[in-house]
């Protein structure tokens, strides 16, 4: 009984510490935003330096599918932030949710402009943009976690639409990046046969994704 009380007390203390830390971070960010809105580029640079890398890794790269495209989008996002920082209204949810929404819109524009074969479709990003506008924003750590999980679910969904053996070949060789010979052995085929298997697996997935984006 006493231990349970102690544990509850420790949990409360931990929550309070996290809340205090968050409040401190928010206060710093709020000050940086105010300075940035007054034209201080250094302050804006600090904000973007703090949140940009996470945005790139959790939002842009998984959705756009290539480093070059994700960097272009990050750059475009920053340009929009520079142009529109004056319109941003602080609402006690921090700077990141606004930055993420800007980035999602940029990514959506890029997907519309370039008809490349990528995992995420326009509709997916449109849904995410809508959700960002309507749901309660969360702090970056939680948001990143959700974005990463959403991207992995998207991969799993795509793999679920092809022959399970093809899906296994892609999972082992492409996602887990295991050596070709090792994967061939695990799939009980010769390495040369595995090459054909992987080629067919990739072709099958391209077909599935192509059909998805066309229909």
């Amino acid at each position: 009984m006493l231990r349970r009380v102690e544990r509850a007390s420790a949990a409360r203390a931990s929550e309070e510490a996290i809340r205090a830390q968050r409040a401190e971070t928010d206060a710093i960010d709020k000050e940086l935003v105010a300075k940035a809105q007054a034209g201080d580029r250094t302050a804006l640079g600090e904000l973007l330096h703090k949140y940009g890398p996470g945005l790139y890794r959790s939002v842009l790269l998984p959705r756009l599918g290539s480093e070059a495209a994700a960097k272009d989008a990050l750059s475009e996002t920053y340009a929009k932030v520079v142009a529109n920082i004056g319109k941003f209204v602080w609402q006690n949810v921090g700077f990141y949710p606004w930055l993420r929404t800007v980035a999602l819109r940029v990514a959506l524009d890029q997907l519309r402009a370039k008809k490349r074969l990528v995992l995420f479709e326009e509709e997916d990003l449109q849904r995410e943009v809508d959700a960002a506008d309507t749901t309660t924003p969360v702090e970056q750590q939680v948001s990143d976690q959700r974005d990463r999980e959403a991207a992995r679910r998207k991969v799993d969904d795509a793999l679920g639409k092809i022959n399970p053996r093809y899906a296994k070949a892609i999972r082992l060789r492409v996602l887990e990046e295991r050596p070709r010979d090792e994967v061939a052995k695990e799939m009980e085929v010769t390495p040369a046969t595995f090459d054909v298997l992987l080629h067919r697996a990739i072709a099958a997935m391209k077909k599935v994704l192509g059909e998805g984006s066309n229909g």
Binding site: P53, S66, K71, D72, Y78, A151, V174, I202
Partner: protein
């Protein structure tokens, strides 16, 4: 004495068990039994079944075509460059942006207020600048070399008719043998003009 037929011999316990195994194995091919295997091979030899169509299609599909082999080899050698492979990896396990790359993007946007210039724009701008510079250089060259731009003080000889060289002209008579003399006279006159013009250009006249 005739041998008794086997059917008339009462079966032993062992025989009863073996016959049950055979019956079960014939009904269910997944059950292993040597007698059932023998029975199946006899049946296959006597009356072979046609191959199941979908099974045959599967076997045919499993044999890669020459094109497929080439493509499979190309994919093996360039796996990291395949756009779908890149996209899958980016979604599954995205790599963080390099600090140097991020700082460069950040610096460019904060300084210029615009996103990174696209490659096409760079090429167009570069061509515009180079083209403009070449156009200016060409116009300067033309202006510098335009007639009258050199004030040497000596007028250049201009193209003119050969008629003054032949004041007594009254129509050339063909076959008179004067052609060589006429050409020599024209050539001599033009050589003089050319020499005078060279001197004039060098400013020594």
């Amino acid at each position: 004495m005739a041998e008794r037929d086997d059917d008339e011999t009462p079966p032993s316990e062992e025989e009863l068990a073996a016959s049950k195994r055979l019956r079960d194995a014939l009904e269910d091919p997944s059950i292993e039994d040597p007698s059932a295997d023998l029975a199946r091979s006899l049946r296959a030899a006597f009356s072979p079944d046609a191959i199941d169509e979908s099974a045959h299609a599967q076997i045919v599909d499993d044999v890669p075509s020459k094109d497929e082999l080439v493509l499979a080899e190309a994919l093996r050698d360039n796996l990291d460059d395949d756009p779908l492979v890149t996209a899958l990896r980016a979604a599954w396990n995205p790599t963080p942006i390099g600090d140097r790359d991020h700082k460069a993007i950040l610096a460019r946007v904060l300084v210029t207020g615009t996103s990174a210039p696209q490659r096409g724009r760079v090429i167009r701008v570069t061509f515009g600048i180079v083209g403009g510079a070449l156009a200016i250089a060409a116009s300067v060259f033309v202006w510098v070399n335009a007639p009258g731009s050199h004030e040497t003080g000596a007028p250049l000889a201009h193209a003119r008719s050969t008629q003054p060289l032949f004041p007594d002209y009254d129509g050339f008579k063909s076959g008179s043998g004067d052609a060589s003399a006429r050409i020599d006279k024209i050539a001599l006159s033009r050589a003089g003009d050319y020499r005078d013009n060279r001197f004039a250009k060098w400013g020594v006249r």
